[in-house]
Amino acid sequence: MASLTFRPWTRDAPEAGSLKDVLSRVAADRGHFRELTEAALQEEIAGEGALESSDSDEDDENDDREDSQASAKPATRDDLFKARAEMLQHIDTANNEVMIALDFVSLLLTKDAPEKGKTTISAEIKKQIPLGSLGYDMWQNMPVNKAREAQDALLATNVRMETLQRSADSLLVAADRLESNVRKETQYWDQILSITANGWNVCKLPGQQHRLGVTYGFNESAPEFSRRGIAALNASPDGGILLERGIGSKPKAMRVVLRQGGLAVGRSRVPTVADESETMLEARIRHARNSLFDEELYHELLRESRGQASLGVSTTGDGIVFRSTSAESPQSTEVLLELVGLYDIQDDLDVKLEQDTLAQVIALVARTLLSQAHREKVKKRSGVPPPLSERRDDRPTLPILRPVMAFLLQHTAMKLVNQYTSSIGSLLAAAHIDHEDQLAAFDLSKAAEIHGVEDLAGILMQRWTSESVLSFYGTKITIRLETTLAQSFGTLYTLIGTNGRVSKFTECEELRTSCDAAIASELALYLQRKAGQAWKCNVREALITKHDSKDGKEDRIWVTVDSQAGLLALNSPTKKISWGSQSSSSNTFHDAWLELLG
């Protein structure tokens, strides 16, 4: 058998390869064209056999050159790397530029020679820019047209001037606005400073940024009032300050009205409201503060009156009413405390009534007591708190109404007692009995010790006492008055007779009758002493008797004193001599006595 040898088909010589492939092969083979020169390559071809050695030689040469280079410059290694990096960077940039130029030209080409362009254009450009969209035209250079150029230049200048003008205008407008802002701010802050200079506290509003407010309330008020005690200060468009809407616009004040028999006899003063447009900011704040204080005062009075209903205090639709005596009599004064809006009562302010002063005093005292209650609150909460327990303290009622009522009751009682004393005095004078009386008055011995409002308030809280003394024929009758609302309503009258007998009453009428009886007894005793041993005196009935041995009958003479009827009388079973309002005898007491005897 003949052996078969298969020879492969001859194939065409492999393509020379595009330049790209050749280049890549050379780069892979030789390194990137580093030491490749024509001369060296020709040397290589000449020394084919020694190709490997020349390769190694080249490598050696490369190494040598490297080393020489390394030894030529010290620390060249880092410089080398830096130079390498720089070179790479330059090449990168150059590559980039070339690719961009390539893309540009290919894009241009795609219009006229699409296929050629498509092959060289890069993928991203193809994606982003539609092909054939860049074209070119060749233009002739236009001749220089001086006129048109001048016009263009003029247009340009004009446009520039216009824009400059516009920016200048806007700057001027901005400057104007800035100036007006500065002016408004200056005014605003001037006013704020004037408010603080007058003592008002300007502070940040809680919960609202960029707004200031003024506090005019009181820290120690009940929470619902202390919360209202702050008003925002708003800037008005012209830079002034406006108080928050509604503050100080409907001011209220507390007024005390004294009434007797249904007619007003005294009224306390309320602050007048000036014309609104004239009122300064501070005046409005002051009005707001006064109104808040009076509203709180009225509120506390209401709370207190609810607990004092047993003492005769009642609330009507108008306000709080209480009487100055426990009995209904035409003498008794009714006190009405009401909260009025200042604008509602402007008409009847001019009338002056007789007891205006008393009403004004009552109003002042009430306000002082409220301030004192505030002070007490501060003191109480400044002390170490008691240990926490389950007891929950309700808000205590502030004692404002009670001291006022006590004062009034004492005042009325004193008037009554003084009336009585003077009537008795006139009766005694009619009977030509020498007497002396000392009228009851408020005990102001501690007035010299008052150093401040706190002392005054302390005196107001204590019980009121006064004394009235009636003395005649060497005997003395003392009437003491005491008012305190702690135990019971009304004044406590104490009658102290000559023998030291003390009796207490709660009604003036009882005092009157008792005192009349005491005076009669005293007169009887006096007569008995004058008359001698034979006569005996029954003190309780103001009766003197003498047992007459002649007839077996006894002579009786008794004294009656009736201050209600205004009568002082010396009586015997047969005759009566009286002095006083109805009929007055001109005898003295002594003469009358002798007359009756004889």
């Binding site: 400044s382 926490l388 327990s389």
Partner: protein, 255 residues
């Protein structure tokens, strides 16, 4: 009664600022407090509800009762360039070890008893030292405790200010030691304020926010008190850092 506490620290430089902040919050001026604390050892008092109620079943138990450091706190007033003077507010204070566990505030049994220094002797009487006067004024059981072998009496001073905010007592104070060259400080005369030395040389102040409650076992009171203290802590956030401390740092047991 129990005391609920939160403590914090304030460096000397910011003390004035913190005082002003407290004054603004509480709406009152600071009350100056200068106290002398005399420390003596005695067993714990028998307080109802105390953590350590003595063993009732075995009263004659032979184990030694744990002794605690009690304080007798004397209020002092400062004279212009003169020695300190004792006022008549003397309190006998006992504080137990704080409760264990992860509590929101420090809770411990507290007992304060006010002693009435008899008017028979002025507190400035130089022949009788302050300690003697206190012992003389103490009621019988306390007197026994004060005189029985409590030889080791230590004393220190506490200088600071106090504010009250609703139910919380806020104190800001620092501790001062006796002057150096006094042999028996608890028994001798009161020094001048300038002679006292700082315990902490940096001059830092301690802030204490405390509340006393009557009954620890009633949840309404206890929870309300804890809530109030924590709200106050939140209020002071950013100004003073109030927190609980390790109970052993406030240990009053005598060793």
């Amino acid at each position: 009664m129990h005391e609920l506490l939160l403590l914090g620290q304030v460096p000397a430089s910011s003390r004035v600022l913190v005082l002003k902040i407290f004054a603004g919050i509480t709406g009152m001026q600071p009350q100056h407090l200068l106290e002398k604390h005399l420390v003596y050892r005695a067993p714990a008092p028998q307080i109802e509800g105390s953590v350590r109620y003595p063993n009732k079943q075995n009263p004659a138990s032979s184990e030694p009762r744990q002794e605690y450091n009690h304080h007798v706190v004397v209020g002092l007033t400062e004279d212009e360039s003169g020695p300190l003077r004792g006022s008549d507010s003397v309190t006998n204070q006992f504080r137990d070890l704080a409760e264990a566990g992860n509590k929101p505030v420090v809770i411990r049994v507290a007992s304060d008893t006010k002693l009435i220094i008899s008017q028979a002797y002025e507190v400035e009487d130089v022949t009788m030292s302050l300690w003697d006067k206190i012992v003389a004024a103490a009621p019988a059981p306390l007197k026994a405790q004060l005189t029985s072998g409590s030889i080791r009496k230590r004393s220190y001073y506490q200088d600071g200010h106090r504010f009250i905010h609703n139910n919380i007592t806020i104190q800001i104070f620092r501790i001062l030691k006796e002057p150096l060259d006094v042999p028996d400080p608890a028994n001798s005369e009161l020094p001048r304020f300038e002679e006292l030395r700082l315990l902490d040389d940096s001059g830092a102040y301690t802030v204490q926010a405390s509340m006393i409650i009557e009954d620890r076992n009633k949840p309404e009171i206890f929870d309300a008190a804890v809530k109030e203290l924590l709200e106050f802590k939140e209020l002071m956030r950013g100004c003073v850092d109030l927190r609980t401390v390790d109970r052993h740092a406030l240990d009053t047991r005598a060793r």
